[in-house]
Symmetry: C2
Subunit: 232 residues, 2 copies
């Protein structure tokens, strides 16, 4: 493929297609892994470049600098999260089952996306500076609160939930164990062993979390109640 031009010294002979979006996607995918694995300062741009199908030059072309790339990764990952949340349909469930579903889904979603968890951990190490700087993100996590507010309101109207139930607090209570379960697995299991991280124990933990949350919110709730079809 060098007939016609015959680069004598230089061998510019690659024939690429114009597909900036695919190139960006590719970079972001690799960068996500690298940042999640090593953090912002720990990540290595040369290493990222080596794992992409393009070159270091393109990273700087599209994302400006390391921080720009990190920010793009962060935003993409948060967006994905939001999409997952939006998929959850809870409106046509009873308040108790609805809440139980939200807890269960949150716990499972966290367990299924350790990469996301790691990026959030890293962002917290940076005091959420990049998240704060982003203009698309502050409103992202709105939908989960809306869902909780809906369930909460319906639960109170039906006389099933305590008056003290608060959507934001509830989100905090649901996120905390779900997040910690993944984020602190390494130090926890190093200190106390792997016992809690077998599939069976994880199932149990999940049900306990559901019971705890429902116990705090549902009047007269008793453990195991989330399993019953008539969740009174």
């Amino acid at each position: 493929m060098d007939g016609g031009t015959e680069g004598p010294t230089k061998k510019r002979r690659t024939s690429w297609k114009k597909d900036p979006e695919a190139v960006k996607e590719n970079i972001l995918t690799i960068a996500t892994q690298e940042f999640a694995a090593h953090g912002l300062s720990g990540a290595n741009i040369n290493e990222i470049a080596r794992n992409t199908s393009t070159s270091k030059r393109m990273i700087y072309y599209y994302f400006g600098d390391k921080e720009g790339l990190y920010q793009a990764v962060l935003e993409r990952v948060y967006s994905t999260l939001r999409e997952n949340e939006d998929r959850l349909k809870v409106e046509n469930l009873g308040p108790v089952e609805g809440l139980a579903l939200l807890v269960r889904a949150t716990f499972e979603a966290h367990a299924a996306t350790p990469l996301f968890i790691r990026l959030v951990m890293i962002e917290n190490i940076h005091n959420a500076d990049y998240l704060r700087r982003s203009d698309i993100i502050p409103r992202l996590n709105r939908s989960i609160i809306d869902k909780l507010a809906d369930v909460c309101a319906r639960g109170k109207v039906a006389g099933l939930f305590r008056d003290s139930a608060d959507p934001l607090e509830l989100h905090w209570m649901i996120s905390a164990p779900s997040f910690y379960n993944v984020s602190n697995r390494a130090t926890f299991s190093t200190s106390f062993g792997e016992a809690l991280f077998t599939p069976e124990r994880q199932e149990r933990l999940k049900e306990h979390v559901i019971d705890m949350i429902l116990g705090a919110v549902v009047i007269g709730y008793e453990p195991g109640g989330a399993m019953r079809s008539d969740a009174r």
Copy 2:
């Protein structure tokens, strides 16, 4: 070597005292802050040196390399934590009050030591590699489990606690919200506002956590029960 004193070219003239322990302590204190602030790769040895009352060379003299220093910091911080745990006396309290006290103390201890939290976050980013490598640490966190086991056993004997209550799970349930409350404050408040982080809301959150835990463990428990002096 240039004539008694009188350094014409070199000015080695500082006069220092020998106090290795104090120097090490000083280095560790500064290094703890730096590592907690920026992580292992983000921390800068020159910066640490600049903030100590000694020199960069001494850091390498006492701790070998950056990782050695990080490990020393980690171990010291875990040791401090253990000492705090040991101070908690729970044996002469009833099971319910005892458990409530453990939850309250854990929540407050986490809130009071953000530096420790950050180091644990960072260590989790590194998959607990340095914690695992340390020989003094794996047995460190034993005492808190022992305390929980004691409370648990007494609660069961008294017929107050559910049979399902498990010390390790309990520790997980107590740590999760206590840790998350500090570790994820930055992203949480960026996403949802600072509402939950005022002193009053933190108090409320703490009581809710206590209620959740006790609700999961104590038979027939009802919210606010931890406050009553006769914790039946």
